[in-house]
């Protein structure tokens, strides 16, 4: 009954989406407010029905209803409750349902909080949103229905892939999807602008908060996924340039570019045509990512060829939306007038450089991810494009980008003073040089590039602080005045400082982890001692333990440094009975920003166990960086100038202002 209700709710959502696709557009043509307002009600109702459908699937998983194929294949009655819930999106059908749920959520948010949008713009935005939604509802209903029943219900389920039985699954996919799908709003706004043939600075002001919100979630989602891979997969890597990761990195790079170009458009009414194109491209890359991950094309081109229904369907969606929106762009964009002249050396110029480098980086990831697939399909030849290729091509793009980051906020709009900006960055430059010298002296004879990279990171962080110091006139006026100025600064400015500093923080983590990582690989018996980076790790013993749906072998290590006990670490190896699969649960010990990392291998006949121990200096900074960036994004989002883009407080503020006049 629940499964059928969930299925039916999804069908109703499709029906609502179809209405929302057509009626508001007709309304906009006829200038009929009632018809345009249909979009609002249908978007909210759609959210309600999709939420009901999603709740139905969650209920089925929680109650372990194995008569539903999706539950049978991905759940087990003994699985802890948390993983029963997260298991809902730990599979293809469920994750697509999460995808459309979030799409409906964003549509609902625009409907609920878009009161200050011009009526026809809101109608167009919601209609475009409904086109995307309809396509994906159809996709789910036709090829990936999560509510299918099994004729003869089995007693027990097959359990969820053990690697996915982790708190990471609770956070990572929803965050990532909030980001991915959030960009659909920018897309809808762009297509709506093209349909209406009108676009202005106010448009950018409305789009920016949505883009920012999606970007924050995507940033956190990617960082979270990276940390999850780091501790769960057991070899201490945190970024693999895997096509699945690249699929999320591409919209992030394009979305970051979009954030910056929308800024130019909002402030200076320039880069309009480009911003619209970026909005379209960013969501197109999200769709491409969905295709890459969901069609099975990555596993192998042949897996795709043997069961092409899903892949071909998404490919079709891809062609229709990307092709359609780009054709519309080619047709209508020339009509959009360019505005806002600026000199090459200016805030706008810096943001254009940012866009050039970010989109090139995005193109690099794009070609690197898709080239092997294309080459195999076209010529049958197989090549590999992996981490070495991306590291090699990415660095030359990111070094100039990072060098330019501190200059951007210090340049004035329209016409900037590069020399003046450089003078104000003097302190940052000096700190960077000192950092290079210190690191170089400290690691004398070691890596040569690493100290330079650390210097670059120091420059980026100090550059962000210099910008702040400059704005509050630190040390030039009394400190109390500076503090008052700091309080008065727009939150968006604080956001920029945090986000830019976050880049530098992440870079330090990346450089330290890749350059000064120490490791121990060996076979250990109880009472053996391993020495890594000044720590001594003694294997106390191996103990078996029974978990809810697994058995595990726990190794206990006592960690000492200079004879003093630091802590106890307990890595383990789990065996999941149902799937016959096992996972390695690495043990992590955090010391400041650095971590000790132990993961276990196989036991040999003589009772020794293969052990890998890493010391990863400052590794946590890799994820603090993105967290800082996201925090900066949130500060910026809470800026009252952006909240003007949100409805009620803005109206109240405007009214208060009018009353004051």
């Amino acid at each position: 009954m629940i499964a059928e209700s969930g299925h039916y709710a999804l069908v109703l959502a499709l029906a609502l989406a179809l209405i929302q696709s057509i009626v508001p557009i007709v309304g906009a043509r006829w200038r009929d407010a009632a018809l345009m307002n249909v979009a609002r009600s249908t978007a909210l109702a759609q959210l309600l029905f999709v939420a009901a459908s999603f709740a139905a699937l969650v209920t089925l998983h929680v109650t372990s209803d194995f008569s539903v194929a999706n539950v049978f294949e991905n759940s087990h009655s003994l699985k802890p409750l948390l993983y029963k819930i997260t298991g809902v999106w730990g599979n293809h059908e469920g994750s697509m349902l999460l995808w459309v749920s979030i799409l409906a959520l964003f549509g609902g948010l625009v409907a609920a909080f878009g009161n200050n949008l011009p009526l026809s713009l809101r109608a167009h935005v919601l209609a475009v949103q409904a086109w995307v939604a309809s396509a994906f509802y159809l996709f789910i209903l036709i090829t990936s229905n999560p509510f299918l029943r099994i004729a003869n219900p089995p007693i027990e389920g097959r359990d969820l892939n053990p690697v996915l039985q982790d708190i990471g699954l609770a956070v990572h996919p929803p965050m990532l999807y909030l980001g991915y799908v959030g960009f659909s709003i920018s897309f809808s706004f762009a297509v709506a602008a093209l349909l209406e043939g009108r676009i202005d600075a106010a448009w950018a002001r409305w789009v920016r908060p949505w883009t920012l919100m999606a970007w924050i979630f995507l940033t956190l989602g990617i960082a979270m996924g990276s940390y999850w891979a780091y501790y769960e997969l057991g070899w201490g890597g945190w970024w693999f340039w895997d096509p699945v990761e690249n699929a999320s990195l591409m919209p992030w790079l394009a979305g970051t570019a979009l954030l910056h170009s929308a800024l130019v458009m909002e402030k200076r009414n320039a880069l309009k045509v480009w911003t619209v194109l970026l909005s379209i491209l960013t969501f197109s890359l999200s769709l491409l990512g969905t295709f890459l991950v969901r069609s099975g094309v990555l596993t192998s081109v042949h897996a795709f060829a043997t069961d092409p229904t899903r892949g071909v369907f998404i490919l079709l969606i891809l062609f229709v939306f990307i092709g359609g929106s780009l054709s519309l762009y080619a047709w209508r964009a020339p009509a959009l007038k360019q505005g806002g002249l600026f000199a090459p050396i200016s805030r706008e110029g810096a943001l254009v450089l940012n866009n050039l480098l970010l989109t090139t980086a995005c193109a690099t990831v794009f070609i690197g991810t898709l080239y092997p697939l294309a080459l195999e399909v076209l010529t049958g030849e197989k090549i590999s494009v992996g981490a070495p290729f991306f590291n090699f091509t990415f660095a030359p793009l990111f070094v100039p980008l990072l060098l330019a980051v501190p200059f951007g906020p210090l340049l004035a709009w329209k016409r900037g003073d590069l020399l003046g900006a450089a003078q104000r960055l003097m302190v940052a430059g000096i700190v960077a040089l000192v950092a290079i010298a210190v690191v170089f002296a400290w690691t004398y004879g070691g890596a040569t590039l690493a100290p330079l990279a650390i210097g670059l990171a120091a420059f980026v962080i100090m550059g962000a602080l210099c910008d702040l110091a400059e704005r509050i006139a630190l040390f030039r006026i009394p400190l109390s005045l500076s503090l008052r100025r700091a309080r008065g600064l727009p939150r968006a400015t604080w956001g920029t400082v945090f986000a830019h500093a976050g880049l530098g923080v992440a870079l330090i983590g990346i450089v330290c982890e890749t350059t000064w990582n120490s490791e121990y690989i060996g076979s250990m018996k109880p009472d053996d001692v391993a020495k890594v980076a000044g720590y001594e790790l003694r294997l106390d013993g191996l103990n078996p333990r029974q978990g809810p749906n697994f058995r595990e072998m726990v190794a206990q290590f006592t960690v000492t440094r200079d004879g003093e006990k630091v802590s106890v670490m307990t890595p383990s190896k789990r065996n999941f009975t149902t799937r016959g699969a096992s996972t390695t649960e690495a043990a992590l010990l955090t010391r400041g920003a650095s971590q000790l990392y132990i993961s276990l291998g196989d036991t040999s006949a003589d009772g020794a166990i293969a052990v890998r121990i890493y010391h990863k200096p400052l590794v946590l900074m890799i994820w603090w960086g993105p967290v800082l960036m996201a925090f900066g994004g949130m500060l910026s989002l809470s800026d009252r100038r952006l909240r003007v883009g949100a409805p009620k407080p803005a109206k109240a503020a405007a009214r208060a202002l009018q009353a004051a006049e």
């Binding site: 202005d200 600075a201 106010a202 002001r205 070899w235 890597g237 009414n269 990555l298 596993t299 192998s300 042949h302 897996a303 007038k337 360019q338 505005g339 806002g340 002249l341 090459p344 805030r347 254009v352 050039l356 989109t359 090139t360 193109a363 690099t364 070609i367 690197g368 010529t379 197989k382 090549i383 590999s384 494009v385 992996g386 070495p388 290729f389 793009l397 210090l410 340049l411 004035a412 400059e470 704005r471 400015t493 690989i521 060996g522 076979s523 016959g580 996972t583 390695t584 993961s599 291998g601 196989d602 293969a610 890998r612 009252r640 100038r641 003007v644 803005a650 405007a654 202002l657 009018q658």
Partner: protein
């Protein structure tokens, strides 16, 4: 056709094995006695693909094939091969597919040229656009047509709501 089917089968087998076999990447018994040679082996391993895995280097992979390749790399290094000779040996045996950073040849030209060309063409386009717009004869005003007076007033109000100054300096 035959080759592609065996590859697909191998990939499938590898996926199954990956689920069942949690052995770690480099195993203790593989490590070479000479730390310098071992370091070279590790660096080389990062450039080589485990052919039955999804985008994993043999340094990361836990598949049996990756172990065989790691041992092979170490064998070649012990035999006195240079890094280049080791790579050539593996390419001769397993084809270009084994390289995670493909070599530049006519098949990978597009791959290698895309990043620099994207940067170059993008820069060129910007430069030309800048020149055209700097030249007043080419037109390109600062005005935005299409706002009704209502909307103008509304925009004014929205902009007025922005009280805090946001100018550098």
């Amino acid at each position: 056709m035959m080759r592609s089917r065996t590859l697909a089968a191998a990939a499938l087998a590898a996926t199954l094995m990956l689920g069942a076999m949690p052995a770690r990447a480099v195993l203790p018994d593989e490590i070479m006695a000479d730390p310098a040679k071992e370091a070279r082996a590790r660096e080389l391993s990062k450039e080589l693909r485990c052919m039955v895995c999804q985008n994993q280097s043999i340094d990361d992979s836990e598949a049996p094939l990756a172990r065989d390749l790691r041992l092979l790399v170490r064998e070649r290094i012990s035999a006195g091969d240079s890094d280049r000779q080791v790579i050539d040996f593996l390419v001769a045996r397993y084809g270009e597919f084994v390289l995670l950073k493909p070599r530049l040849n006519e098949h990978t030209l597009v791959l290698w040229l895309t990043p620099p060309l994207a940067l170059l063409l993008g820069g060129l386009a910007l430069w030309r656009l800048g020149r055209r717009r700097a030249n007043p004869a080419a037109g390109g005003g600062d005005s935005t047509p299409g706002l009704t007076s209502d909307e103008e007033a509304r925009l004014e109000r929205l902009l007025a709501a922005e009280s805090a100054p946001d100018k550098p300096l």
